[in-house]
Symmetry: C2
Subunit: 373 residues, 2 copies
Amino acid sequence: MSGELEATLRQPIGAWQRADARAADVAVSSRLRLARNVAGLPFPPRLQPADTAALLQRVEDAVAAIPAALGHFTFTRLAPLAPLDRQVLVEKHLISPQHAQQARGGLLLRPDEQLSAMVLEEDHLRLQALFPGLQLPAAWELASQLDDALEASFDWAFSDALGYLSTCPTNLGTAMRASVMLHLPALCWSGRIGGLLGELGKVGVVARGLYGEGSAASGNLFQISNQTSLGQSEADLAAHLQAVAREIVVRERSARELLVAEQRPVVEDRVWRAYGLLGSARLLSSSEALTLLSDLRLGSDLHLLPPIRPDRWAELLVLTRSGFLQRQDGEAPPAQRDERRASMVRERLREALTPPAEGAGSPPGEQGSAAGG
Amino acid sequence: MSGELEATLRQPIGAWQRADARAADVAVSSRLRLARNVAGLPFPPRLQPADTAALLQRVEDAVAAIPAALGHFTFTRLAPLAPLDRQVLVEKHLISPQHAQQARGGLLLRPDEQLSAMVLEEDHLRLQALFPGLQLPAAWELASQLDDALEASFDWAFSDALGYLSTCPTNLGTAMRASVMLHLPALCWSGRIGGLLGELGKVGVVARGLYGEGSAASGNLFQISNQTSLGQSEADLAAHLQAVAREIVVRERSARELLVAEQRPVVEDRVWRAYGLLGSARLLSSSEALTLLSDLRLGSDLHLLPPIRPDRWAELLVLTRSGFLQRQDGEAPPAQRDERRASMVRERLREALTPPAEGAGSPPGEQGSAAGG
């Protein structure tokens, strides 16, 4: 395993996620994916083993052709990776669950994890650019640069009538999928999320949970994406989703203001309880961790709790995932995972949170403890 | 209102409760009550207003006749007290809920609150001695001294055949009621409390909740008392209940050991969550406070949490009661009571859980449990 990949598997978030971002109080991250298929080759579902091996080799060779200005990329084949390593890549949103399970393709990755490509997932390549906060136009620009760079090595399947050709017809046209991960605790709390999700369909936008299609919206996290990729330019599609996301950001902010205005003690109680539990619990399931981290973040964003940096929070989202936790722990039995998760959260929170000033609650964790754990 | 009573109403616990005690890890307090009626006067239910006034005056006059060696007592009539003041006296276990509601009688009280007498509750006088931990023989000794002292002023209704005469026939004989308040979280947790309570009846012992007859066992607190007061001497009755209580203490300790041996992570999680919530919540109902304080105390007694002194804990039990809280707050609207309770608990816990200064000796909780076996 390359040193770069080992670093990726060890770090909960990529370097890109440490940058400052716009609307980061609601928009966690922006992602842009471009589906690209190599002309003259069958789509992945019908690709023969010999062609598969050849394509993987071609991508590996293409790494050297990427201009240095775009960064130094590495290429990793998924098959030799341990299932747990592949799961960590899923938890970091670098590959899809399907890609991890098939383990047939590979991952092209820049060490800051901002630019990557799944190789032989549903399409020959799926390029991906990630930005913190709400930055779809920038993500389009960057993904497009990687696309240009790879065109030196590949001839993409393209039709004047249909645009980029891809395995699934819903990706025809630009073959672009723009997504924004949104943290919507107040819209969920007030029950207005249902109506909002209903409206999205009318503007060509679809909402999913934290891990894409079919996953539940745990932690009040929703990923919105464009439903079709046809009939508009990439820049227009990105700008449209950016505008929809911005509208949701505005609504979430109003919902937060209203919540505090109308139910301040209840909101304070909820976020402080999350703070207390995250800092004290000795057993924490991944689902409870996600719920409490959502409340913690809301409290921080509303200035009701000590501030937590968005990147520290994003780290905790990944650190509490089962795969990531298990990989750090080596061979720890699953029964101890909830213990380990709780202890890791306490440790990280102590670092991430500035202790509250006098008059606020007691700090989480073992402060003042004489007891052994 | 006398300065002494004002102090009683302001302090959550009496001075007696600050002393070190045996078996304090399970036995919160011991109480001994003696029912006494004045010869020649009808029992309270049939006492006429003129006689009522005369009796109250006689008790007030009797205060001066109590030997100085037994302490300086004050006498307070309940009628002029605000309902909230009477409720605080109930929450401190100095008068019964019925006595507070009737507000017809009075309270004879030593400033340390260890010795007292309800005047014109169900009987003309009900003398009460309180001790921390498991100390019924000592409580009998002390109550008996007050009884002797009052005999200088009163001639008790007594029959050679029936013993002390009292309004309710179940108090005939010694007219003595010995009680121990027990904290039984592990027996409750393991579900063995049901069987235990069933056994108690066979040895003439009855169990009630925190505030006596008809009250639920909130906070895993149970008050056990002798069912009858007939056929044995006071000393024997006290010794019998003391032995029963000691047996329950032993069983609770085994249950705690077993709990930790078999489910340590679960126990740690539960007590640390209570610690975190008490230190963080912004809204706390009296019932949740009691539940969390029970878990906190268990964690402290098991050395899983920072130690909390038994008297500090006993203070919190009273401080979180609605009446006590409301009285401290003056005219705060009830809606703010849960907020006020939460903030008071956070404040007190920060003080209570601070380890004692160097040279201050080991925490009393540890002494209690080490001396108890």
